[in-house]
Amino acid sequence: MLSAVIRLKNVGLVLDGQLILENIQLEIFPKQICTIVGPNGAGKTSLVKVLLGLLPPTSGVLERDSSLRLGYVPQKWVPNAHMPMTVARFLRFGSAKVTESAMHGALEEVKADYLYHQAMHRLSGGELQRVLLARVILQSPDVLVLDEPLAGVDVLGQEEIYQLIKHIRDRTQCAIVLVSHDLHFVMASTDTVICLNRHICCSGHPQVVHLDPAFQKLFPNEKLGEVAIYQHAHDHHHSLDGHTRHADHPH
């Protein structure tokens, strides 16, 4: 296996006197998809910001090559309506020399070429995600971080966004870090699932649910090719005061 491009060793994060993350060990490998799941307030976005270098860890180390190119698709972004911005102009950010045909090509790959002249603040949630992904295709980063890319996308579009993410991984060979608040259903192509609740509760490989004959019998017409189920293996409880207790039986 190739060596990790980002490595977190014993990382802890305290913001405004509040413990947000503790004892995080995490390695991001090239071409692999890592999905971070966890309840609200688990520190998923903070972890992503540490990975991106936006928040310096309070303790522990972040190892990252300084030449590493990062792509970021932020969570719940609403484009600023005070700023006139067409999709074409937006795609040119960070890659000034990009040609018009390359931009059309990238938009076609995400099936959004019809948005070329559209104003950014008029896009729907799903259209915005496509445009952000088209920009990622043009940038071709080494690591792509997507913070809840399915938020604001309707159910039919979600499967397609997953397919696009997989397509980007296959095409640009980048590592992908994906944040999701859904604890049980993750992207099927995920290599590692990290379950986060301030610390890493458990991690592992998801089970590809749509191949399961029992599932196919139950939902013969469901198009869930890109969704897998993740079985948690926790060995501790979280009490309401934030402390963890070791459990006798994993659940």
Binding site: L54, L70, Y72, W77, N80, M83, P84, M85, F93, P141
Partner: protein, 269 residues
């Protein structure tokens, strides 16, 4: 009163300085709007009174003392954020207290100082040396705009995206603040405390209605500002009005006309 050749000879420094400043205010004002920093423009303008007062009392360069005051305001902002105040509240507090401190200082030590020039500026007394000074600052500003424009625009689009992708850094943020302080300092003596943020905000707000990209907005805002400077000078001279209010009144009219046309074109569609 008809305009004569003597008037034009007398007015050219004001015209050139005004045109140069309005060109700079276009892109700068656009960024101020995008980043929802209109209160900051106000706060810098108002705090300049303190700078002008200190400069006058110490017989120190007014430009530098305003620049330093503006830098102090910009430095205090992140510091005071720790006291759980919103940016708007902090800017309101600073803007009005610095204005008051400035006036108190002036009245205390030099009760006979004419403060009207502080409020409305003194554009007609611009001399050729001032034009050279303004030209130098605008030239420096143009270089900064060339190098930092992409970073500043992306900072306005999404600050964290810009930082994560290393397209903007803490440096580009600091340079923007210094640039803003510099333009406020150089224009405050001509435009006055009350009207300086109008020059930043109004042409940019008008340009927003007729632009589809950030660059278009910046250029059109600069163009609208330049037209307003020329019309404002003409109106002020023709009807014997104070220049700065005439200038801002022209800009206000531009906004009303463009937004009415914009509204009608949407209705007609």
């Amino acid at each position: 009163m008809p305009i004569t050749l003597t008037d034009i000879v007398f007015l050219w420094p004001a015209l050139v300085a005004g045109l140069l400043l309005s060109l700079m205010m276009g892109p700068l004002g656009s960024i101020v709007l995008w980043r929802r920093m209109t209160f900051l423009g106000d706060a810098l303008g108002h705090s300049s009174v303190l700078g002008l007062a200190i400069g006058t009392l110490l017989q120190f360069s007014l430009g530098w003392s305003v620049f330093i005051t503006c830098c102090v305001v910009l430095l205090l902002l992140p510091f005071f954020e720790r006291f759980k105040q919103t940016n708007d509240a902090l800017l309101g507090v600073m803007s009005h207290s610095f204005l008051a401190f400035g006036f108190v200082l002036i009245y205390w030590f030099q009760p006979r100082q004419n403060i009207e020039n502080f409020l409305f500026g003194d554009m007609l007394n611009i001399v050729p040396v001032d034009v050279v000074k303004v030209g130098g600052i605008v030239f420096l500003g143009a270089i900064l705009l060339y190098y930092f424009w992409q970073a500043w625009v992306l900072m306005s689009v999404h600050p964290e995206l810009a930082k994560a992708e290393k397209l903007a850094t803490a440096k580009s943020e600091i340079v923007f603040n210094l640039f803003l302080a510099m333009i406020v300092a150089v224009s405050i003596q001509f435009l006055g405390v009350l009207l300086i943020s109008a020059l930043l905000v109004i042409p940019a707000a008008t340009a927003r209605l007729i632009a589809t990209t950030p660059e278009e907005m910046a250029w059109r805002s600069a163009g609208l500002g330049a037209i307003a400077v020329m019309l404002g000078l003409f109106v002020a001279l023709r009807f014997d009005l104070p220049l700065a209010p005439a200038l801002v009144a022209v800009m206000g009219t531009q906004f009303i006309l463009v937004s009415s046309a914009h509204f009608l074109s949407i209705k007609m569609r």
